[in-house]
């Protein structure tokens, strides 16, 4: 019979909610107690089943090819714990490079532990990468009186060629229209498409984007109104422009 305290610990353990020292202590108990181990395994399966309680969406077909290309570019999978692959896994926003508390690392006790360790090592590597200087932050303001209350901030990571745009207080575009982000790089005669930016009822949006084409030097960002779904070349009025 598993007492309540250990049931609590098992619940927290499977949700990765224990701090490192508590997790280590619990793993020591797991190693010595088959009943607790079985109970924890059952809770882990139950927790993972929650993944089925998500609205069904399919990844884009292109993603499969990207994933396959990525793994082909790697060597045969390692049979020992792999080194963190920060070059591919660096979330662009890590570039903000905050001062972070150091994650405690510990030795592997078993294979599952090894998984956790690898993930934390990876996270640790990412958090310590100081790329703040590379990130560009631009603010966009209204160019048309009726959009005067609206504004936007774009954070751009040139290394990852990724960014996030955050809009606020923009009126919803009329039917059949969308807001679309443009990246202005002098290398190209036309602004580069950054994708549509759907706003909610309050005129708010927060969208990550990757331009259609590689950009090296960014002169500015702009938001225009375009036909729903976006267009490859800007046609509509520019409502917000970088300062």
């Amino acid at each position: 019979m598993i007492d309540e305290q250990h049931q609590d610990l098992a619940s927290e353990y499977v949700l990765d909610a224990l701090d490192p020292s508590a997790a280590r202590a619990f793993e020591a108990e797991l190693a010595a107690d088959p009943e607790l181990r079985a109970f924890t395994g059952e809770l882990r399966e139950a927790a993972a089943a929650l993944a089925h309680n998500a609205p069904q969406h399919l990844p884009s077909p292109e993603l499969r090819e990207r994933v396959m290309s990525a793994i082909r570019a790697e060597a045969t999978p390692a049979k020992t714990p792999a080194q963190p692959a920060g070059r591919n896994l660096l979330p662009w926003a890590i570039a903000a490079g905050f001062a972070l508390t150091t994650a405690a690392l510990w030795y592997e006790r078993d294979l599952w532990r090894g998984e956790t360790l690898a993930l934390r090592q990876e996270s640790f590597e990412l958090r310590n990468r100081d790329a703040f200087a590379k990130v560009r932050i631009a603010t966009l303001t209204a160019q048309i009186e009726s959009f005067a209350k609206g504004s936007a901030v774009v954070v751009w990571d040139p290394e990852r060629q990724r960014g996030v745009v955050k809009l606020t207080k923009l009126p919803r575009p009329e039917g059949g229209k969308d807001y679309q982000l443009w990246v202005i790089d002098p290398k190209y005669p036309q602004p580069v498409n950054g994708g549509i930016v759907p706003v909610d009822e309050d005129g708010y949006a927060r969208v990550s984007f990757a331009p259609d084409q590689p950009v090296k030097k960014i002169d500015n960002f702009a938001i225009s109104i375009e036909p729903a779904g976006g267009v490859p070349k800007a046609t509509g009025p520019i409502v917000l422009l970088g300062n």
Partner: protein, 203 residues
């Protein structure tokens, strides 16, 4: 979830689950040897379910795809460490992807702070509502889990789902819900136990 051989014999659904689990474990074993075909097959089997739940966590399709790509790269590199005695292959994958998504969510929290700082520093960007609209749930898959969740008291379900999908610590959940930490822990424990029991019964 452990299922007795007798129950397995009675339930075609359970037999199918066990067969799926064996197949997935075999695919992982082949992936551990560098078998790209097996990897592609596992991707096709897992990616719809994994993408859906990651999208529910990060609420951004592009980021969800990034997480999926990172997660599958991790599965490719770490397939040899999968231990069938500890979990099903899908559970193993879910927990890896969940950790990746939580990393993203924590990065996003820091990014949001950067955005706020940037707006104060560079402009007079007005305060905005950070709340995001909820997603309407489709009911065409995962009916077993959804059915099981209906049997769990609302407070427990809320706490369990917040703990699983949001990446918040139990302390943060307690703060958000305005309940003592001990209460939140108990709700999560009881919710998970009921979910386990309901899923067992449905099997």
């Amino acid at each position: 979830m452990r299922i007795s051989p007798a129950a397995e014999a009675r339930s075609p659904m359970t037999s199918t689950k066990e067969a799926d689990r064996k197949l997935d474990a075999q695919l992982l074993a082949r992936i551990a040897t560098g078998d790209e075909v097996a990897f592609g097959a596992l991707y096709d089997r897992f990616s719809p379910g994994l993408f859906s739940f990651v999208l529910k966590m990060v609420r951004d399709e592009r980021e969800a795809e990034d997480v999926l790509q990172e997660g599958f790269a991790h599965l490719w590199r770490r397939a040899a460490t999968y231990d069938p005695a500890r979990s099903s292959p899908f559970t193993w994958a879910v927990m890896i992807l969940r950790n990746k998504a939580i990393d993203r969510l924590r990065v996003r929290q820091r990014l949001d702070r950067t955005l706020e700082r940037a707006t104060v520093e560079f402009s007079h960007f007005p305060e905005s509502d950070e709340s995001s609209s909820g997603e309407a749930e489709r009911r065409d898959q995962g009916s077993q889990v959804r059915s099981a969740l209906t049997l769990i008291p609302a407070e427990q379900k809320q706490a369990v789902e917040m703990a699983f999908f949001s990446g918040l610590t139990h302390e943060q959940i307690a703060e958000k819900l305005g309940a003592p930490l001990g209460t939140i822990k108990a709700r999560i424990r009881r919710g998970l136990l009921k979910l386990r029991d309901s899923l067992k019964e449905n099997s």
